[in-house]
Amino acid sequence: MYSNRISTTARYNLLTADIQRNEANYNRLTAQLASGKKITNITDDPIGAVNIVNTNRQLGQISTFNQNTQLAKEELDTFDDLMQLAEGYLTQAWDKAVQANNGTYASTSLKALKVEIDEIAKTMVDLANTEFNDNFIFGGANTKLTPYEIDTNGNILYHGTPQDNPDYVRKTEVADGVFEVINTTGDKLFGYYDSYYSDSTGTKYYPQTDEATGNTIYVDKSGNQYTGDVADLTAKEDYSGVMGALKLLSNSLQEVIDAKNAGDSNAETAGYAKMFSTLDMFSNAHNEMVTEQTKFGGVYNRLEMTESTLETNTENLTSYLSSLQDVDIASAASKWMQAQYSYQASLQVAAASMNMSLLNYL
């Protein structure tokens, strides 16, 4: 019996509900248009919201990788510049070695050559002690310790991580879990020269003049003096790379000069033989440098590729992010207009029909 019945209250309530629904829709679309964001609360679109958070995180990661790549490239640029300089010095030294080896130079000329070689050695040491961003580039993992030192005995000592220690590496993350090694060790590039006295246990001792007595004493790295029989000590010489070659060349020049002055032709021949052997060493050192330079040239190229990949990813992700969270203005505006019309229509209809009743006609 009630099926067709509608009460006045029900009619008012319906009208109010319709107006409210249209108003809510209109407000929602207005807010969207005003903010420019499709999703203002994570519950608006759970999947979209999670995607936005994930995408923002990825973008953050990419920006970190990008910074890492930039920084690594800068360091490798510096490395490359230093290598070119080093190769230049090496070539100079090599030329001097060739000149010295032709055997026609008088001792004064040889002396001049030796001075030049020693200068080159010092320059090479300075170069090998270059810092980048507060880190010694050629010290391996020992980034805060000056890698090369010329000690009082003229040894060119390397204090960085040795190349046979796998922990020498410094890495930078250029993609998720992908690390590029951006350093090498000084001893691999430049070598070293170490002349010392060794006892039966292999401990290295360096000669020093005792200030009190004026005698020669033998002291190890930690400052402990050798207490055994001096006759048991064996003189040893460890060397490699360009540092080794420079020092050997300088030593052999001194030997030849001394021999010439003393008129000792045997010693002179031995000196020249030593001098000659440095030519190969220079050549090998040069090869080593070029090889490393090429290797890091490859890393540099990879970094450039990474950079462009990162750039593409950033563009893709940014546009994805925009598609997730930004309102499509055209469609939002047209929806907004529609909502406005509906809202207006519901207001008009309500206003016109609210006071309709039999009362008006009695």
């Binding site: 009630y2 019945r5 509608i6 009460s7 006045t8 209250t9 029900a10 309530n13 319906l14 509900a17 999703i39 203002t40 609360n41 994570i42 519950t43 608006d44 679109d45 759970p46 999947i47 919201a49 999670v50 936005i52 958070v53 994930n54 923002n56 995180r57 953050g60 990661q61 970190t64 890492n68 920084l71 961003n133 507060d134 880190n135 010290g139 391996g140 993992a141 020992n142 980034t143 805060k144 310790l145 204090h159 991580t161 220690n165 796998p166 922990d167 410094r170 890495k171 930078t172 993350e173 998720d176 879990g177 690390f179 969270q325 009743s357 039999l358 009362l359 009695l362």
Partner: protein, 532 residues
């Protein structure tokens, strides 16, 4: 003497129509009264008893005019019951949605200001640290970022507790309980129960015959709707119009007596009474509802599990982790605690592991072996000292070990896979920092096999989906309730047109009856002058 009976009949008709008009007047007056049910006068022809036999005059004599059979109240009990059921459901969903909406507000990470962003910054700082393990700037930055991360987690945890506290109190403080939403609701419900008992009593003394006490019934139904907003009820109506109201099997109101009043106490007070160790052994809600009879005797000690519907049901279960996969403030708090504990464990373990080295603060160009006390994250234990056990989102902090002067050097960045390669000068060794950085994508067994950030995002996703689906459910339920309200309004609301038609109808009948009266009166006059 038919003329006199006609006079009586039309006088009766005048009276009946007068009463009918008064009902119309009552209807029109109450057209906007909440819960008012339209009444209608049912008219009946009056029959005068007596044998009729074969005499048509007797037939005429049997006609006694009109009388009011009853005043009917428009109603639909089935619809009412269904409406109350749906209303309970709507109110329960409303509470759940409110809770989830606030949760979503707490974890609204879309602007990059949330825990997710803090985690990203944390890993970015680790990246920096990995590149410059010996740099005090990188180390200080890492510590600052870690501090932001922990304090953000603390803050989120506080917001969550506040959310739970607003709903159910904090579990121990009486004042917090009294300021909670559940307390207000419980009191309103108890008031409604008392009101219902009073109306029941009135009905028992009023509706004693076959006719209904329409206005009291209106009041009764309105109170029943109120009660249904708070709890899920079933209603059993007696012939006198009084009702027995049950939630589950428990009678709340029986006739004039409130047999199941609610009482509320804090979880702590409940635990103290029952010898449960609070909060360690308590897995329930922060507030405990109980049901007591009118004389203060306890009927149900812990009624939380039987109150599942309505606003109370929604609210009481809105903030506790039941481990049933439903997301609420309780589960989010648990997840966040797990996350905090996991982060602390991952980085503490790495920072203190064997062959890991931090930097010697007395000579920052040298490495120093780390030890088990060299932790990054900690919390204050009950004794006020730092500990690594029981770290939660609420209490996680960067360890004093790191925060103290020179503490920056205690971050272990170096690690030697093979101890024979250890070199105290190798401050540029960042193997441990690389491993720490690598945990960003590492799946953690204690985080359901997800990485730290994925675990957080998945939690966020759960909140978002739960909020979204609660919103949809609630909206649907609102539609159902709206449509039912509309049906109910239509079924028993006052329609002005109907009333105006009735008014004209009864007015006309009244005027006609008066006319009949006059006519009969003049007939009588004519009769009186006869034979003069």
């Amino acid at each position: 003497m038919n003329l006199l009976s006609s006079l009586n009949i039309s006088a009766g008709a005048l009276s009946v129509n007068e009463k009918a008009i008064s009902v119309v007047s009552h209807n029109v007056s109450n057209m906007n009264t909440e819960g008012y049910h339209k009444q209608r006068v049912n008219l009946q022809a009056r029959n005068i008893a007596g044998q009729i036999g074969d005499n048509p005059n007797n037939q005429v004599r049997a006609n006694g005019g009109v009388k009011i059979a009853n005043v009917m109240r428009y109603n639909d009990d089935y619809l009412n019951n269904y409406y109350r059921e749906q209303l309970s459901q709507k109110n329960m969903l409303e509470q759940q949605l409110g809770n989830l909406d606030e949760l979503a507000g707490i974890f609204d990470d879309l602007e990059g200001t949330g825990v997710d962003a803090a985690l990203s910054n944390f890993y970015e700082a680790l990246n920096n640290l990995q590149q410059y393990p010996a740099s005090s700037t990188a180390r200080t930055n890492f510590i600052e970022v870690s501090k932001s991360l922990t304090s953000l987690m603390n803050e989120k945890s506080v917001q969550l507790s506040k959310l739970t506290g607003e709903a159910l109190g904090d579990g121990s403080s009486e004042d917090a309980l009294k300021n909670s939403k559940i307390y207000t609701q419980y009191r309103e419900l108890n008031n409604s129960l008392e009101e219902l008992a009073a109306v029941n009593k009135a009905l028992q003394t009023t509706q004693t015959g076959t006719l209904t006490a329409n206005n009291l019934l209106d009041q009764r139904d309105l109170i029943l709707h109120d009660i249904a907003q708070f709890v899920d009820i079933t209603v059993d109506e007696k012939p006198n119009g009084s009702v027995t109201v049950y939630t589950g099997d428990q009678a709340l109101v029986k006739g004039a007596k409130v047999t199941g009043k609610l009482d509320i106490e804090t979880a702590k007070s409940y635990c103290d009474k029952h010898g449960i160790k609070y909060p360690d052994d308590w897995t329930g809600e922060n507030a405990v509802l109980s049901i007591v009879d009118g004389d203060g005797g306890v009927v149900v000690e812990n009624a939380n599990s039987i109150i599942t519907g309505g606003a109370l049901g929604g609210l009481i279960h809105s903030a506790t982790d039941y481990n049933d996969g439903v997301t609420n403030a309780g589960t989010v708090q648990a997840s966040l605690d797990k996350l905090a504990g996991s982060i602390a464990k991952i980085f503490n373990d790495l920072n203190t592991r064997d062959n890991a080295y931090c930097i010697d603060s007395s000579n920052t160009n040298h490495l120093k072996a780390t030890d088990s006390d060299n932790i990054l994250f900690a919390c204050y234990g009950p004794d006020g000292k730092e500990t690594t056990t029981g770290i939660t989102a609420a209490n996680i902090k960067v360890s004093d070990n790191i925060l103290k002067t020179d503490g920056i050097w205690n971050i272990s960045c170096a690690y030697f896979e093979d101890p024979k390669y250890y070199d105290e000068n190798a401050v540029g060794n960042a193997q441990n920092a690389i491993t720490m950085l690598g945990t960003r994508n590492e799946k953690q067994a204690d985080l359901n096999g997800m990485s730290v950030e994925d675990y957080y995002t998945s939690m966020l996703g759960k909140i978002a989906s739960a909020g979204d689906s609660a919103k949809n459910l609630y909206e649907t339920q609102c539609d159902v309730v709206d449509s039912l309200e509309n049906q109910l309004d239509s079924a028993y609301g006052v329609d002005l047109n109907e009333e105006l038609v009735d008014l004209v109808k009864y007015q006309t009948a009244y005027a006609a009856a008066a006319q009949v009266f006059n006519t009969v009166n003049s007939c009588l006059d004519t009769l009186m002058t006869l034979g003069r």
